[in-house]
Symmetry: C2
Subunit: 143 residues, 2 copies
């Protein structure tokens, strides 16, 4: 479904959403530890997201990663698309290339509607909205 890398990236971005600001940058080692992901690994992922403008960063002393207000309007799907590519989530559960509405595979009818809904939420809900839900204590990040 989601690669490990995507999951890590999502965790990191949500962490940044809650704990960083333009004037409060966080360096990798202070991200990797709380979210429980190896530092060198998450560093690589954050760099990739930064290059694609999903998150922001600045170098040098007092540097680090953070989310700008614009970054907060991105979706989790933006992250997934960058890390996993666009096809992974879309593919048929059984990886049947020719599976479609006309010739649905045996699991298509079951999976299609629920996957569509899943993808829609990933696309439509912003990082900011997730952040709000967490702050309100409605959902949690039990890293």
């Amino acid at each position: 479904m989601l690669s490990n890398s995507s999951k890590y990236a999502i965790k990191a971005v949500l962490f940044l959403a809650l704990n960083s600001k333009d004037n409060k940058k966080i360096m990798v080692k202070d991200i990797s530890e709380p979210i429980n992901v190896p530092q060198a690994y998450i560093a690589k992922l954050l760099q990739e997201l930064s290059k694609k403008n999903i998150i922001s960063s600045s170098r040098g002393p007092k540097g680090g990663f953070y989310l700008s207000n614009a970054n907060m309007d991105n979706s989790l799907m933006d992250i997934i698309n960058i890390i996993d590519g666009e096809k992974r989530l879309q593919a048929c559960v059984l990886s049947l290339e020719k599976c479609n509405l006309e010739k649905p595979c045996p699991l298509h009818e079951l999976v299609y509607p629920i996957k569509t809904k899943f993808i829609k939420v990933l696309q439509d809900r912003t990082i900011k909205e997730f952040s709000t839900l967490i702050k309100q204590g409605k959902v949690f990040l039990p890293f």
Copy 2:
């Protein structure tokens, strides 16, 4: 979600459900080709399923793999559990160990009900029932 191996195994078993019987065994090479999976690979998976009595086999000339009537009452989940282990499908979307109903992760509320439904169908519907749906032309196996 499902490993490649599970998908291959499911394809093979559904193929056997449609094309084999006690008195009509099929050898690996005549399974691997139509379902479009490398012979040596699917052979290994079929052996594993055979050992766990999900499918049947006999060696020697006129031997091959087939589904007995009893085999037809198994579920796709039986296959998945053997190939992928029991935890893979159950795990939190974000792989957060501590994610649960009390401390749901940000995607829990979205994913939990749909995954539960998915798992239920995989568990409850028999191979025989899938086979019937395919024979009735209601679903397809576009290998």
